[in-house]
């Protein structure tokens, strides 16, 4: 068994039905989709038991019917495992993993800024890359936000100053 298969087998063994799908794309690139309620348990298991000790980043992606969060983890820098989960678009919430991966705190802030996802348990979700007075309902990376809307928000902000 390749180490890629081994990791996915262990995940399936531990979480069973909670693992909704897996994919080995190529050497060193694996994907696993999980049930959203298991986020903290899966990441904690990967961090502590399987020693995935690096988080490259968190990708947030608006697929129309919901928001997908992808946690890109690496084992000894050489095996990239992307853990995916889907959350609701109307009330986008996920548990923070900043205590499991301290480096994740800043990536959660970025996803919060751009897609409006609330990470429960993250102590600081203040704006990281958007201006302080940015309108909370305008989340630039959402698919229905047009470039024109973003442009007028920037112009309105410039006028306030």
């Amino acid at each position: 068994m390749s180490r890629e298969e081994e990791v996915l087998e262990k995940l399936k063994e531990k979480f069973g039905e909670g693992i909704l799908g897996v994919n080995i794309q190529r050497q060193r690139r694996i994907f696993a989709e999980i049930d959203r309620s298991l986020l903290r348990e899966v990441l904690s298991y990967l961090r502590k038991e399987l020693n995935f000790d690096h988080i490259s980043t968190i990708t947030g992606y608006d697929y129309g019917d919901g928001i997908e969060l992808i946690y890109h983890l690496a084992y000894e820098d050489s095996l990239e495992l992307s853990v995916k989960l889907k959350i609701s678009r109307e009330k986008p919430e996920a548990d923070s993993v900043s205590d499991i991966y301290p480096a994740a705190a800043i990536y959660e802030r970025e996803v919060h800024d751009l897609l409006g996802v609330e990470f429960k348990g993250n102590p600081d979700l203040s704006p990281l890359i958007l201006p302080d007075e940015w309108p909370a309902e305008l989340r630039p990376l959402r698919k229905d936000e047009k470039l024109e809307d973003i442009k007028s928000a920037i112009e309105a902000e410039a006028e306030r100053r």
């Binding site: 060193r28 690139r29 988080i55 490259s56 000894e76 800043i106 970025e110 470039l147």
Partner: protein, 392 residues
């Protein structure tokens, strides 16, 4: 906040260099007790912009994310797109990518050594290093026609060959660079001006570096042997021999030594790549539209792991492109390095992660007892650092 705690606001403007950032430092006496970061002053919305442009246009957009490691960005981007397409790049193109990437690393690291010298007031070294950096800039110009945006990569290969006169000229330039770099390393190891300002400054322990997600030379200077080129090889890195340089110093001095030694490794890698480079095509033709797929691409940029995630949707425009630059990964470790250090050391510690050179001009010092506010720029802070060290 206790009476003796003073909040020092660092940044965001920096007129001479790129990427403004603001650091809010809580200080007690001469010590930094807490550091917070605010970025985004030049957030350009490139991820959103990419969704509205074609794959080909996005090469040029990704190149403009960074003015120093522009080649790392295009390499990472085109690799992701090639994986979406399932295209294999011709072997010669892979070698050319390695050569340009290593030339870029040499130029970036030399630039950084100069900046680090400047931050501690050692401008003589800054001048010498930047003079010699021109050698590698000329080599890059010879290969690509440009000094900054090389525009070498395209989806399916590279746009220009390295052949004919270019190879012997490059070898000559590399020999000169090697000689100079060795001189600098010898000098840096002995020079009190550097040793006194960098040893034990900006400490980041091995466990903290790993825990906080540091990348690149910052991580390797804390004794962690990790390098995407070795661990997750791309282009032709699996066919080229090199050492992953590490240092157990965990301080600013270790970060200088790691980068200098990486320059020597890069020089040897380019020599080997020029010797081993196979003949043949340098690019393959690709289709403009890409069926739905997803891909992850990683590159060891001069500052560390650069990360791209790409997803296609069947059109000629991407559904989603996610970019994570190495500086963002190094920001949290940086806050840790600042804590417990002197205010006077803040410039060199900030420079220590080579923050693509961000931030930190205007400094606002608020004395909470007197409610007095003073605004400093980086020059004043640098002067303060030098004066403070003159007294102590």
């Amino acid at each position: 906040m206790s009476g003796s705690m003073i909040k020092v606001i660092f940044g965001p403007q920096h007129p001479a260099l790129k990427e403004p950032e603001r650091f809010i430092l809580n200080t007690e006496g001469e010590y930094v007790v807490n550091a917070k970061v605010r970025i985004g002053y030049i957030h350009r919305g490139i991820e959103k912009a990419m969704e509205n442009r074609t794959y080909l246009q996005n090469i040029y957009l990704s190149e403009r994310i960074c003015g120093i490691c522009s080649d790392a960005h295009t390499t990472c981007y085109v690799q992701a797109i090639e994986e979406l397409l399932g295209v294999e790049v011709p072997p010669r193109a892979k070698y050319i990518r390695v050569i340009v990437a290593e030339l870029e690393r040499i130029h970036s690291h030399l630039l950084w050594v100069g900046v680090a010298a400047h931050e501690i007031g050692f401008d003589t070294l800054f001048m010498y290093v930047w003079r010699d950096r021109e050698i590698v800039m000329d080599l890059l110009e010879q290969v690509s026609g440009n000094r900054v945006h090389y525009a070498m990569n395209t989806i399916g290969g590279v746009r220009r060959d390295i052949a004919g006169e270019k190879s012997p000229k490059m070898l000559k330039g590399l020999s000169l660079l090697e000689e100079k770099t060795k001189q600098y390393i010898e000098m840096i190891r002995k020079e009190q001006t550097i040793l006194k300002r960098t040893i034990g400054v900006g400490m980041l322990s091995k466990s903290d570096a790993l825990k906080l997600g540091a990348v690149g030379p910052t991580l390797r200077a804390s004794g962690v042997k990790r390098d995407v080129r070795k661990d997750d090889p791309y282009a032709a890195y699996d066919e080229i021999s090199f050492n992953v340089v590490t240092n157990d110093g965990c301080d600013c001095f270790a970060r200088i030594i790691v980068r200098c030694e990486e320059i020597l490794e890069s020089i040897n890698m380019i020599r080997e790549a020029l010797k081993k480079m196979p003949g043949g095509e340098i690019r393959v033709k690709v289709k403009p539209s890409i069926p739905p797929a997803e891909a992850i691409s990683r590159v060891e940029a001069p500052r560390g792991e650069l990360f791209y995630y790409a997803r296609s949707n069947g059109t000629d425009k991407p559904e989603r492109i996610k970019v994570r630059t190495p500086t963002l990964a190094n920001i949290v470790p940086l806050c840790k390095m600042l804590v417990g250090g002197y205010i006077a050391d803040v410039p060199i510690v900030l420079a220590g992660i080579d923050p693509c050179f961000a931030c930190m001009d205007r400094v606002l010092i608020v004395d909470s007892r007197k409610e007095e506010k003073r605004v400093w720029d980086l020059n004043e802070l640098r002067r303060y650092g030098k004066e403070w060290y003159g007294r102590h």
